[in-house]
């Protein structure tokens, strides 16, 4: 998010473009920019994905670890999110400079994944009250080119889709100490059901209209918008107003409606693409070498 300075004339130009449903890069208000997605890039992680939405670049690594479940939820595993804004994106993120933004995104991820409708945490339990899987979802923001929320959520969903959880068996109870047996075959793994994991749609309001997938310049022109997390079955799992402006209830409601429609479409397309990608051969991986 290198600092963007726009003159009044440039702002007016963007405004008029949005009004006429033709944005600076030729898109209509409800179009996304091209997306590049690849999974399985980091071999040290149990699942990983890299997503590039125009200039926004996100790398997600999922690590699967064993832990004891929290005392109030003995029969469930956990998802732990951690967002790191790399200084690669902008010098302002150096040291602890990116923490505010990281926190915001992290919290929204937690909240939208919290409902039992999106992910079945009971699937991650191994031995009730004693052992469970913890999925550490670590998000690395490498470049900010606008619309970070959408890009992050898509990348997280893809990384979780690619995550392989090893099969584990609970062997004889020796006194109170159960023994865990890890399968010898490294390919003996299972995948999570990721069908319902939420995708996010950011809608920014510019003038009397709203648009999806804003560029940094458009974000700069708008004072308010909403981020809507939509699960695979078209339910809304979290909403937040962003920006320092305010919205009329009517426009908010219509934004919510558009958001949930677009979100469902994004989700569907993403699932199709992920399946296609899974069936590709490993030698075709490109990574950062273009």
């Amino acid at each position: 998010m290198a600092e963007i300075l726009l003159s009044e004339a440039e702002k007016a130009f963007i405004h008029h473009g949005v009004q006429d449903d033709l944005r600076c890069d030729g898109r209509t208000r409800l179009d996304y920019r091209p997306i590049i997605l690849e999974t399985g890039l980091v071999s040290n992680a149990s699942g990983s994905a890299r997503l590039r939405l125009a200039n926004s670049d996100i790398l997600v690594g999922v690590k699967v670890e064993l832990a004891s479940p929290s005392p109030d939820k003995p029969q469930e595993g956990r998802l732990e999110f951690f967002v790191d804004c790399s200084a690669n994106a902008t010098p302002e993120f150096e040291g602890r400079g990116g923490e505010d933004l990281a926190n915001e995104i992290c919290r929204f991820l937690q909240r939208s994944y919290a409902s039992g409708d999106t992910i079945n945490l009971a699937e991650l339990s191994i031995l009730s009250g004693q052992q469970c899987w913890v999925l550490y979802v670590d998000i690395l923001i490498l470049e900010c080119g606008g619309n970070l929320y959408d890009a992050t959520f898509m990348a997280v969903k893809s990384a979780l889709y690619a995550t392989q959880i090893p099969s584990i068996k609970v062997a004889t109870m020796d006194g109170d100490q159960p023994e865990l047996e890890l399968s010898d075959d490294p390919y003996d793994t299972k995948r999570l059901n990721t069908e319902n994991l939420p995708c996010v749609v950011t809608l920014m309001k510019i003038g009397n209209h709203y648009l999806v997938d804003p560029t940094p310049e458009e974000e700069c022109c708008s004072s308010s918008g909403i981020v809507v997390a939509v699960s695979g079955n078209k339910k809304i799992t979290a909403v937040r107003k962003i920006g320092s402006g305010s919205l009329h209830p009517d426009s908010l409601v219509s934004m919510l409606k558009t958001g949930s429609d677009v979100g469902a479409k994004v989700n569907k397309t993403l699932m199709i693409k992920l399946l296609e990608e899974k069936n590709l051969e490993k030698s075709q991986k490109v990574g950062f070498m273009r």
Binding site: E76, N103, S115, L121, S224, S246, L247, H248
Partner: protein
């Protein structure tokens, strides 16, 4: 996060003894069948604190002047058992010179007192508090006339003394009262409220027990909505929704919340009017004395 070693820390791992408490039979049965409705409201459609679903807890003990004597403006409100105090300082010079801005800046700090929740809170702001601070700032920025005090900043500190549900909603109301008492120019007051959604039922202003718990695995139509509404301008300054719901239901929830805010507006205005009258009469007395 580095811990503050100068303060006495509790043991790293501890959990509330209340988790071991046996629930009474009725509740256990209901919990097993995951029927929240039964837990929260009895068959006679009355909540535990004898409210009907569409009833909010009364705002009481609203104190506006002198609650924090050093602050320029302050306010204390109680909404049921949710009690919080807010102090406003400024406008004063921006401390960090690098953050030059032609508009005024708001600095918000949202803090739960360590003893305010069931689980003990640390002295340092945790991630949740940081995010709530951000939400509070974004909402108030929409209401405060920032252009009136360029190159200066206003500090808003909210401390929750007791949290019994809807802390952000109460904080919004409290902070806008404190801002008004500090004579910070505003377009409108921000009035906050929360709505809890259950299948086919909406509860206005939920208590802690009624609030949507993020980790509970209940499926459909379960969510929490907090809004900050500016009644005179009819604008939404804050909107946070968490949990699973359909778009149509969100519309309903929003309607219920805005209606409540419109109802509360005269009450809040009355409180402010009293303060202004008191200050004016004090001033005139002082003049007579001279």
């Amino acid at each position: 996060m580095p811990v503050d070693s100068r303060r006495l820390q509790g043991p790293e791992n501890s959990f509330s003894y209340k988790l071991l408490e046996k629930k009474n039979d009725n509740e256990e049965e209901a919990a097993l069948s995951a029927d929240l409705q039964k837990i929260l409201i009895g068959t006679n459609k009355v909540r535990k604190d004898k409210r009907i679903p569409s009833d909010a807890r009364p705002l009481c003990n609203v104190t506006i002047t002198g609650i924090v004597s050093q602050a320029k403006g302050s306010a204390y409100i109680e909404q049921g058992n949710t009690k919080l105090v807010c102090g406003v300082y400024g406008p004063r010079e921006v401390q960090k010179k690098s953050d030059f801005s032609l508009n005024g800046q708001l600095f918000c700090e949202f803090k739960f007192a360590p003893f305010s929740c069931q689980k003990r809170r640390g002295h340092q702001q945790d991630n949740e508090e940081l995010v709530l601070s951000g939400l509070l700032r974004e909402a108030l920025e929409a209401a405060v006339c920032l252009h009136q005090f360029p190159k200066a900043q206003v500090e808003v500190n909210v401390m929750v003394i007791e949290n019994d549900g809807s802390p952000l909603a109460a904080a919004l109301t409290c902070a806008s009262l404190a801002l008004a008492s500090a004579s910070i120019p505003m377009y409108d007051l921000v009035i906050g409220t929360s709505v809890r959604q259950l299948p086919k039922l909406l509860l206005l202003d939920p208590t802690k027990d009624e609030e949507w718990e993020p980790e509970l695995n209940h499926d459909e139509d379960n969510s929490n909505l907090t809004i900050g509404f500016m009644p005179s301008t009819h604008q939404i300054a804050a909107y946070v929704h968490e949990g699973v719901s359909k778009t149509e239901d969100l519309e309903q929830m929003l309607k219920l919340a805005t209606e409540y805010c419109l109802k509360v507006q005269p009450v809040v205005q009355l409180c402010l009017k009293e303060v202004v009258e008191k200050t004016l009469s004090n001033e005139s007395e002082n003049k007579v004395d001279e």
